[in-house]
């Protein structure tokens, strides 16, 4: 009390007299508010949701709740703020609060009931922005080349000539399928003199199954796809790939992007959803999971839901919402409330693992299911599981209700929350047994058998041989066909209230919020009383939405030119880059959304353009005038992705396994010890059997804490947040990777064998043959000469060597094989090989 009274003593008599009178808002209070508060909390801006000039708004309060409690000035947050009491930051920002006289007036006014005049306040200006990307998309007249040429003319630059046919086909193949052309494909193209020869290649490549693999990878980047949880335990997620299958298939079928959006954000909410539509919701199951003991589950649920809002905003809207988790966005009209309204869409979704069998799986499973169940039940009975579990459940619930009695049971409870495999153990155990599903029961039983030792200690656990049982059950499971699982989202039946979080702190609840879209964009159309993820998906791809189409075609352009029309593909907001060709962007966006959201159509239109087909060779005047190649007077040279580099090497060597599409992730060989930097010596990395290890790079198991080295060396994203574009660095670790990684050495050794077996007889022809396989073009005379010289030198070296760097192969002279392996390795290390020209 004394703290508040002290300044009053300093007041002049005049103001004391005033305080005794009724305070008039307009005469006494508003001048203070207008001078000190309205700039941020007035008609034009409502920082933290607070507006002080309008009675109804002011009394309703801000994001944190009420700030004026009529009649209770001392308890009102407004007074605490303008005095900087209770450790709060004083307002106005950067001051030490208002002068004591002014505080006294406001205080007296609140104590008198905070009467506002009955006047119609100027309506709060709806948040608007003249920013280019928030304006409606209008389709301008023209086509890709006309927009590019017009801009080039303004810069007094001329476009480049068309690339040579071999370069063109390699470019097109790498861009559409991520693989180089075979020599036969190239030859067919060279021989084809028809005017539509190039278009035929586009058709072939767009309908190739490898198209889906290549373009799925970009989508996986944005979905932060991974095969493990992340964080300390970093458990493997054995079924992540099931969603990846869906993506590859959807892209190959050219599923319209609006449907692609609906199924991934809200497949479960579609009428009578199919299994595939539920599988699609796995997009938002790639959030990280922290299973470390002692972690607050509420915090990680909050962070996951927030991540879903941030990712959706980034991938579809191209806006950076992360800032608004804690406060109104500083630059974009994205308020903190907007963030939590987006958050609310996802707050009502629960994680659910489901059976998602692939074609042909169910029959096999059905045939054996009864037998499997019988054997499992026999084991459960043999080890008397059902006699022990009920008591354990009682004790567990007791530990949950009365924490702190026994550390061991507390730990057992925590482990139930963290270590339950395939579901939420804490939720299941609290359900009455009668309400548990078959799946619930299985999940809890497995957890009980595997983790009972937390409750009773290792010694007792081993006495009842549950460790042995656990192993037997696992063996049994792998001996019988099981249904493929999928990670999905499911809407909560009873909606739960979402709250804004003050300063982004999950513990500090602010005002309640309902699911809704940002106020500065076209309004959301709800189908029911409460907006759902399905409404959100429909809104994202509604014709009037100015962002989704622009952002999506921009990312397609980025893959085909190395950078987007807007360079910052993840941010088209106020702080993002401006489009280099705004009309072109709108032209493509309009076509995309008005003509059926077809990914393949847009790609076809782009790769058919003269702009795309240009040579990528540098020209001296361009290096000076347009070093970043913003105006596209030439194509860009793009260092290929990590996955493509490996794919191309294996493909040239004839090793790449393209026999099937999709399926579980693979583990190619990697040096010992890569995973040991992780927790408890990490995960087992068992190399995939047979030709599995030669499958494409997008199938490589992504272990978040210890990723496959090639992926990190060549800038694959770390799969923690949506990656809308990849960086492209050029490092010596990349050089070492290509020089000495056994994967590339094996490719070189195999390629050499291929040259010796399939190639022509003469050295120089053989060199040409190898160059065709790796670089997809004829080598120049100078190149052939340099390579011959190298080859001769290698022959001399290996003729006298005892240990040769190649395996003995029947009918192949080993030293010769070694020399050609060296040559193949040289080719795989060329800048040209890792570059899409």
């Amino acid at each position: 009390m004394s703290k508040v009274q002290r300044p009053l003593l300093a007041l002049s008599l005049a103001s004391c007299a005033l305080l005794a009178q009724p305070i008039d808002f307009v005469k006494n209070v508003e001048p203070i508010f207008a001078a000190k508060c309205y700039a941020c909390h007035g008609p034009s801006q409502q920082v933290s949701g607070l507006r002080l000039d309008d009675g109804a708004s002011a009394l309703a309060g801000g994001y944190g709740g009420k700030v004026i409690l009529p009649g209770k000035a001392a308890d009102s947050l407004l007074i605490q703020r303008i005095t900087g009491a209770n450790g709060l930051k004083a307002m106005p920002m950067g001051s030490n609060g208002l002068p004591a006289e002014q505080v006294a007036i406001i205080k007296a006014w609140i104590d008198q009931g905070a009467p506002y005049p009955n006047r119609a306040a100027a309506k709060a200006a709806p948040p608007q922005s003249r920013h280019w990307s928030f304006q409606p998309i209008r389709k301008p007249e023209g086509n890709i080349d006309s927009f590019i040429r017009a801009a080039l003319a303004k810069q007094s630059l001329a476009p480049s000539k068309e690339a040579t046919k071999p370069t063109l086909l390699r470019r097109l193949s790498l861009d559409l399928t991520g693989l180089p052309p075979t020599p036969e494909e190239l030859q067919a193209f060279l021989n084809d003199l028809a005017p539509n020869a190039y278009e035929k290649q586009i058709n072939r490549l767009l309908s190739s199954p490898q198209f889906g693999e290549k373009w799925a990878r970009h989508w996986l980047d944005q979905a932060r796809y991974a095969d493990s949880d992340g964080y300390e335990k970093d458990w493997a997620r054995p079924w992540s790939w099931r969603w990846r299958n869906w993506v590859i298939d959807a892209i190959n079928r050219d599923m319209p992007f609006d449907q692609f959006t609906r199924e991934q954000l809200a497949g479960d909410l579609l009428p009578n959803p199919t299994v595939e539509q539920k599988v699609a919701t796995g997009f938002h199951r790639h959030t990280l999971t922290n299973r470390e003991g002692g972690i607050d589950n509420n915090q990680f649920r909050f962070e996951n839901v927030a991540d879903r809002a941030v990712t959706t905003t980034s991938v579809w809207l191209g806006l950076t919402a992360g800032c608004a988790q804690c406060h109104d966005h500083k630059y974009d009209p994205y308020r903190q409330k907007d963030f939590y309204q987006m958050y609310a869409f996802f707050d009502n979704a629960e994680e659910e693992d489901i059976d998602a069998p692939l074609p042909g799986e169910t029959g096999l499973w059905l045939r054996k299911a009864a037998e499997y169940e019988q054997k499992r039940e026999a084991l459960i009975a043999e080890y008397r599981v059902r006699e022990k579990q009920p008591a354990w459940e009682v004790d567990m619930l007791d530990a949950f209700k009365n924490p702190g009695r026994r550390t061991d049971w507390d730990l057992a409870w925590d482990c139930l929350l963290k270590l339950t495999d395939g579901g939420d153990g804490g939720k299941i155990i609290r359900k009455p047994v009668a309400r548990r599903t078959t799946r619930d029961k299985r999940i809890l039983e497995n957890h009980f058998i595997r983790n009972y030792h937390f409750a009773i200690g290792q010694k007792a656990y081993k006495e009842i041989k549950f460790d042995e049982l656990d192993k037997k059950l696992k063996d049994l499971e792998s001996a019988y066909p099981q249904l493929t699982q999928a990670y999905t989202l499911l809407e909560n039946e009873t909606p739960q209230q979402s709250y804004l979080r003050i300063r982004g702190d999950f513990k500090q609840l602010g005002i309640p919020v309902e699911p809704d879209t940002p106020a500065f964009l076209p309004p959301l159309k709800k189908q029911g009383a409460r907006a759902t993820r399905l409404d959100l998906a429909n809104w994202l791809t509604a014709p009037e939405n100015p962002l989704t189409a622009r952002v999506t075609v921009n990312k397609i352009w980025q893959e085909l030119f190395g950078q987007g029309i807007v360079k910052t593909a993840e941010d088209v907001g106020v702080m993002g880059a401006r489009p280099s060709h705004p009309e072109l962007l709108d032209y493509l966006a309009a076509k995309f959304k008005d003509e059926g959201w077809s990914r393949k159509q847009i790609i076809r239109e782009i790769v058919t353009s003269a702009t795309y087909k240009q040579s990528s060779e540098a020209r001296p005047e361009l290096t000076e005038k347009d070093p970043e190649n913003k105006w596209l007077a030439r194509q860009s040279r793009i260092r290929m992705n990590a996955e493509s580099i490996r794919d191309a090497a294996l493909f040239s060597a004839g090793l790449l396994d393209l026999s099937k599409l999709g399926g579980p992730s693979i583990k190619p060989p990697q040096p010992d010890g890569v995973t040991s930097i992780g927790y408890a010596r990490g995960t087992k990395w068992e190399v995939s059997p047979g030709t599995e290890q030669y499958r494409r790079g997008l199938y490589i198991h992504f272990q978040r804490t210890t990723p496959y080295p090639l992926l990190m060396n060549f800038d694959a994203p770390r799969s923690t947040t949506a990656a809308c574009r990849r960086l492209r660095s050029n490092t010596s670790l990349q050089a070492l990777n290509l020089l000495n990684d056994p994967v590339f050495l094996e490719a070189a050794e195999t390629l050499a064998l291929r040259v010796l077996r399939e190639g022509p007889a003469a050295n120089k022809d053989r060199i040409q043959f190898a160059a065709q396989l790796v670089l997809n073009r004829a080598a120049t005379a100078a190149e052939v000469e340099r390579l011959s010289q190298y080859l001769d030198q290698q022959r001399t070296v290996f003729a006298n060597e005892k240990t040769l760097p190649v395996h003995p192969v029947p009918n192949i002279e080993r030293a010769e094989h070694a020399a050609w392996t060296g040559l193949a390795s040289v080719l795989f290390n060329l800048d040209e090989f890792v570059t899409r020209e």
């Binding site: 360079k567 702080m575 010890g673 010596s732 340099r786 290698q794």
Partner: protein
């Protein structure tokens, strides 16, 4: 073909492999999408905001949270409270990982003595650290926001508890560039078991991978793919590199892209790395006295080897060496297990300081010894019958670390915790404050070393961090 151009390039690369200092070094990084001019060297040495006190950092990370009250911060009162619960007023609102606030106090069996001019109290398990008391600044009032390992380690190294941000070493490299022509600028050495944070602790996050920590491994290739394949001699490898260089050169003369020259350069650096790593790892020229000082040779001790390696690396211009030693996570059997960790780490840590000092390197090398947080005065007993095997739970308030070297005011103790080592009484140093101070010693205003990502300027200290002036000499 343009023969003159090729000749010119040959000369260029001959001078380059000769290791002339005038040639821009390091990995070329171009076309990062941010419009950097091609062929700009992202690792070229750069000047910080102001004159730095430290040019390089050795971070001795003690993973798992060493117990401050058993090592650095004596709490005699714990013995009197042993077996009893703390007053609820002290433990109100406390969040713990595994135990509840009502858990009984665990007295420490350790004895403490005063060392150095400041009378720094250290426990009987740290005789070697005691011998460098005048060369370290002991901070007893560290604070983290995290009480779980992975988030705690992320906060310590990246300033924030969520995955995806650049590590301190990456920031240092991004800000200062590298001074080594033959070795990576940010090196990671590990010993003991694996860490919770894994590669997240030294990832470049959203910074280009050029700034990522490179792991030097204890077995197999010291750097992944560093060694020539079996059957490939140095000479053969050099011939291969010559062929690659000439072929790239031929293509460059045709395509004209500067980026190809950058790649040629990366291969030359890779070759130099291959040639210089064996020399770095070869201890045969170290004196017996030096090896004895670190305790190398008696029984295998990877931490000791790494401490000596760290010195050899900073001598050769490595900017940031990060040792990760695991684990101090003594939830149980702390009285049995703590002496094992100190036996491994005490002598080499102290030897590193002495060795750097005698070589004149300590003046401008910053050394930090720290875990991600500390431990509780309350005991953790996984089972009531395990009293002998009691341990301590995690506590983010009031843990102890020490610093030494470039720009640090040594021979002093900063901060004070309460009688139970539960809370900080004086001079709280938050993790972000420590980071701000480390950046300051390297010559940076931590608020101004930023990188734009996802529409926001990011920095090591997130949106927090105050310089701790008491630490500065």
């Amino acid at each position: 073909m343009n023969f003159n151009a090729i000749q010119k390039r040959r000369q260029f690369f001959q001078s380059l492999t000769g290791g002339l200092g005038t040639i821009a070094l390091g990995d070329m990084f171009a076309r990062n999408g941010y419009g950097a001019a091609p062929a700009q060297n992202p690792l070229a040495p750069r000047k910080p905001h102001f004159a730095p006190k430290a040019k390089r950092v050795i971070f001795l990370f003690q993973e798992g949270a060493p117990s401050q009250m058993d090592l650095f911060d004596p709490k005699p009162l714990l013995k009197e409270w042993h077996g009893k619960s703390l007053p609820p007023s002290l433990t109100k609102d406390m969040k713990l990982a595994f135990i509840k606030p009502t858990a009984a106090v665990l007295g420490s069996p350790r004895t403490f003595k005063k060392y150095g001019q400041a009378g720094m109290e250290l426990c009987d398990l740290l005789p070697h650290t005691a011998s460098i008391a005048d060369d370290i600044c002991l901070i007893r009032s560290m604070q983290s926001d995290q009480f779980n390992h992975h988030p705690g380690q992320l906060q310590l190294f990246t300033g924030h508890n969520q995955v995806g941000r650049p590590s301190m070493g990456s920031w240092a490299l991004y800000g200062l560039g590298s001074e080594s022509e033959n070795l990576p600028g940010f090196v990671v050495l590990s010993s003991g078991v694996g860490t919770s944070g894994g590669t997240d602790n030294f990832s470049s996050g959203f910074l280009p991978s050029t700034y990522s920590g490179t792991q030097f491994r204890g077995s197999g290739d010291p750097i992944l793919y560093l060694t020539n394949p079996t059957g490939i001699s140095d000479k053969t490898q050099r011939a291969r590199l010559d062929a690659i260089r000439d072929m790239n050169g031929l293509h460059q003369s045709q395509s004209g892209d500067e980026e190809i020259n950058a790649r040629i350069h990366s291969y030359e650096l890779a070759y130099r790395m291959q040639s210089s790593a064996p020399e770095l790892l070869d201890f045969s020229k170290e004196s017996q006295a030096t090896l004895d000082m670190y305790g190398i040779g008696k029984e295998p001790n990877a931490y000791a080897t790494n401490c000596l390696l760290a010195r050899r690396m900073v001598e050769r211009g490595v900017r940031f060496v990060m040792l990760m030693h695991a684990s101090w996570d003594h939830h149980s059997g702390i009285n049995q297990n703590l002496p094992k960790q100190t036996k491994t780490t005490d002598q080499p840590s102290a030897a590193l300081i002495k060795d750097l000092k005698q070589r004149g390197l300590l003046e401008d090398t910053l050394v930090v010894w720290a875990g991600e947080f500390g431990r509780t005065p309350m005991s953790e007993m996984r089972r009531p019958e395990d009293a002998e095997g009691a341990g301590r739970d995690h506590n983010p308030n009031g843990f102890s670390i020490w610093m030494s070297g470039g720009g640090v005011k040594t021979g002093q103790v900063i901060g004070k915790t309460d009688d139970f080592s539960l809370n900080i009484l004086e001079d709280k140093v938050h993790i972000n404050d420590l980071q701000a101070t480390i950046m300051h010693l390297l010559g940076f205003d931590h608020t101004r070393l930023t990188y734009r990502f996802m529409g926001r300027e990011f920095r090591l200290t997130d949106v927090h961090g105050e310089l701790v002036k008491k630490i500065l000499a």
